[in-house]
Assembly symmetry: C2
Homo-oligomer: 227 residues x 2
Amino acid sequence: MIFHQFFEKESSTYTYLLACEDTREAVLIDPVVSEIEHYAQLLAVKNLTLAYSLDTHVHADHVTAANQLREKFGCKTVLHRNSGVACGDIFITDKSAIRIGDILVEARYTPGHTNACTSYVVEGMVFTGDALLIDGCGRTDFQEGNAATLYDSIHQQIFSLPDETIVYPGHDYNGGLSSTVGQERLHNARLGNGRSKQEFIDIMQKLNLPYPKKIDIALPANKACGK
Amino acid sequence: MIFHQFFEKESSTYTYLLACEDTREAVLIDPVVSEIEHYAQLLAVKNLTLAYSLDTHVHADHVTAANQLREKFGCKTVLHRNSGVACGDIFITDKSAIRIGDILVEARYTPGHTNACTSYVVEGMVFTGDALLIDGCGRTDFQEGNAATLYDSIHQQIFSLPDETIVYPGHDYNGGLSSTVGQERLHNARLGNGRSKQEFIDIMQKLNLPYPKKIDIALPANKACGK
């Protein structure tokens, strides 16, 4: 499998490219509109065809490249059915999957940060978007966020994966690139060490986070696939 | 919306083409491999691009055109996740949806005839495959069929649609082209007139149907997308 992790500095967003070595079909997970030239370059250098762009959720902190990638490469825009983004092409639900060559990209519905969050499981890796982050998790105080729901999503859909599964998050603000399910299950500051749901809810309620800087630009743009 | 109903005589199969008048994108539901030239002709005449081929289930009575359509038109092959057909491109689950232009094709999981049956709801129409037929239903005595499951699927996922919804079945053996939800809910010989689940199970158990003629050819072929 061809794998590449991209980083967008302003919003500390990770974007992932996965591709089949045989068929040269590729997907991008959480592409950022400002970074399109980087994606185009890698696709060209590696001789890949972009078949799908996947968003793990409707982002509040950066604008998706979905629409521009569709216009440029003819790929399909994939989102969860609950996203309320009418311009998507394929609206997945829990356990839906997309195949590129011999790679299966499996959706697991992981709401809580938003009501349309999806993690993608691919051959020993899980792309968690803003559900589970390294030593943290997505905030739950806007976009229909709910701490109890996020706790259940992470426990049932992510911590149920084998401990050695590599966790690739949607963001990291401290230079971390990846983690593992075992590491987060045991040591995540908010969820690790067998923390109860009530303890988690209390932690999330006391975070007192500032109003997200780009939400008023990012949300309307992402509801239109980044147009 | 552009709509066309095709008929394949040998297996009495209905295939449906739906397309957006603006974007000219099209889907085919349950295409049959012997009929590809008819589909190609209509696509060309109407200046349409085939974006997806959808199968309501893994058919036992005819071979899908999915793979040949993919090779000819570059469309994506869509099936339910439970189908066990590894060569599909997009594996949907209940409430997944696919958009072509301004048309939303919504999946409703309707198992019972097989464990991977899906009906598709599109603007006042429902394409029921072999779950609900005109004045009948799909058999439940092979391919993980189950009469109780089929009863629940039809009641919860199809009879819950508005009465005026047009029912387009996967087959008809008597020249019927379509029905309505109201007609079938009230008058279907096996399910109408408030028949109980136990009555339905008894009817299905007593059908005593012959071994399906083409199942030994069709099933392995369809597990390989009709290759």
